[in-house]
């Protein structure tokens, strides 16, 4: 048994505090998730990882009720503004009911467990939970 953890994507950081990061273009400041060959905005090729605030505001959402096989439904897919950077993520710790969700809602980063593999390593996902 080990308590090793691995983030679901490389822009989620678990230590010391859970944080998301974006790659920021050194030339123009455009921000991206995932490896880039060059900046889509200014074509520069140098990037620096930048931490994002963990608090955000829901810009839009949908409640996905019908999905391809293997995807657990319902889930609330959202786009959240975290300090001026739009981040995709599920809303968690809230009922998948339009009466419980609204655009403009304040949320914060929350971790989720995706299960443990054969080696005992836990994959850690993230979502956004309402700020009470």
């Amino acid at each position: 048994m080990t308590d090793a953890r691995i983030p679901v994507v490389d822009y989620l950081h678990l230590e010391p505090e859970p944080r998301l990061s974006a790659l920021q273009c050194d030339s123009c400041g455009a921000q991206f998730f995932g490896r880039r060959n060059a900046c889509a905005s200014c074509f520069g090729a140098a990037f620096t990882s930048r931490e994002l605030p963990s608090d955000g505001v829901v810009q839009t959402y949908t409640i996905v009720c019908t999905a391809e096989p293997g995807i657990t439904v319902p889930f609330i897919a959202a786009a959240v503004d975290c300090g001026g950077v739009l981040v995709a993520g599920n809303l968690v710790c809230v009922e998948p009911d339009p009466a419980s969700i609204s655009t403009g809602m304040r949320v914060r980063l929350a971790l989720t467990s995706l299960g443990v593999d054969d080696r005992g390593v836990e994959a850690v996902g993230f979502g956004f939970e309402p700020v009470k």
Partner: protein, 404 residues
């Protein structure tokens, strides 16, 4: 209006009935549309100098050539094109570019899809189910993140977010508002004998149907179906040498535009289908020398009810931020100031993906020629056809009546 040598024209255009065609394969459907379009043009494959073909889901790597083997092999170049839901418009635009470049004086564009009963369409998933979590790919993901980090593959969900984002910016949207947009398009299709669905639904029926991705219920999603559409395009120079009846029925392509997303913050997180549509519309109005107020009808890409709303704004049919009021005024019903999707749109007429960008041009031409029967928009002289392929590609064509 006389024939302009430097312009290009639709000489013949046709679509098959959209719906279920269990006994016809993609080549049958494409051949039927081509044969009807050639008949409509009073032309033959011998007249065609260039061809572009689209079939997104069929898996062929040389579909245009496969069609040629069943409609006529004359040795002309074929461009097999793919551009998501803008594939048909891309085929059309490819032919138009070849004619404008002077490489041919008559060309054929065709799009076909067989999707009846396909259910929810998704892009292929990454292979998952490893026995140990191992980061891979550009996100360093340890598993397929669809459904874990929002959605990129669930089209009803992606377009739901796009409609809800409009509501967040400007206000006034609701589940019921989006359902009423769907009500309009289903009501329109009752007059279209080629539509996959020709059934009117009440708002209550639409809202109480199966929820796919809130706020899009099943009748608010584009209808998967089989269908094909084809167009014969001719240069003005060539058209001048054709018969009076061919000239009379020809429809001028006053604008043909294809755009992609310019980079904007957030556009790789939530697809921005607004800016590229607005850019395409602006270029199209400039090319055609007309404004949105001049349009007698619009066929726009209502792949979901939530998408139709934002395109009222993107195509500048209303003031910026005014799409909700514009719809609520009744403007986009067939008796309104700017009828939108009088064919029934993708939600009701259907969306055989690669055929859509030619079929909506057919709908506009049908009205401009005064041949739309019961659903004719009286006195229609100018119309616009719009498609979006997520990724994204936006095609806009403006069509104008030639004959007085």
């Amino acid at each position: 209006m006389s024939v302009d040598s430097d312009a290009v024209y639709v000489l013949g255009i046709a679509m098959t009935r959209f719906g279920k065609h269990p006994d016809l394969d993609t080549i049958d459907l494409a051949a039927e549309a081509i044969s009807s379009a050639l008949g409509d043009a009073a032309a033959s494959m011998r007249d065609i100098g260039v061809m572009a073909a689209g079939n997104l889901m069929g898996g062929s790597v040389a579909f245009g050539q496969e069609i040629q083997k069943h409609v006529g092999q004359t040795g002309i170049p074929v461009y097999n094109v793919a551009n998501a839901c803008a594939t048909g418009a891309t085929a059309l635009r490819t032919v138009i570019m070849a004619l404008k470049a002077g490489e041919a004086d008559m060309g054929l564009a065709v799009g076909v899809e067989k999707l009846a009963g396909a259910g929810l369409l998704v892009n292929p998933a990454a292979v998952a189910d490893a026995t140990s979590w191992t980061p891979s790919g550009r996100l360093g993901g340890v598993t397929d993140v669809e459904g874990l980090i929002g959605t990129t593959r669930n089209m009803p969900g992606v377009f739901a977010q796009i409609g809800m984002e409009y509501g967040n910016r400007y206000g006034g949207t609701s589940f019921e508002l989006f359902a009423r947009i769907s009500e309009k398009n289903h009501a329109h299709s009752t007059l279209n004998p080629l539509s996959a669905y020709q059934k009117r639904f009440t708002v209550e029926e639409i809202m109480n149907d199966v929820m796919i991705a809130y706020p899009n219920t099943r009748p608010m999603c584009s209808a998967n179906c089989d269908g094909a559409a084809a167009a014969v395009i001719v240069s003005g120079r060539k058209l001048k040498s054709l018969s009076a009846s061919q000239q009379r029925r020809a429809v001028k392509i006053s604008a043909s535009v294809l755009t992609t997303d310019p980079w904007e913050a957030g556009c790789q997180v939530l697809p921005n289908i607004n800016t590229l549509t607005r850019n395409a519309a602006r270029q199209a109005y400039e090319q055609a020398g007309i404004g949105p107020q001049d349009l007698d009808l619009v066929e726009l890409h209502d792949c979901f009810a939530t998408a139709e709303l934002v395109h009222y704004d993107n195509l500048m049919l209303c003031e910026e931020g005014g799409a909700v009021d514009f719809f609520n005024s009744g403007a986009t019903w067939r008796d309104g100031v700017t009828p939108v999707n009088v064919s029934g749109g993708l939600e009701s007429k259907g969306h055989p993906v690669a055929a859509t960008g030619i079929a909506n041009v057919w709908e506009v031409c049908h009205h401009l020629r005064g041949e739309a029967g019961e659903r004719q928009i009286d006195g229609a002289r100018v119309g616009l056809a719009h498609v979006i392929g997520l990724g994204s590609a936006c095609g806009v064509h403006i069509l104008e009546k030639v004959a007085a």
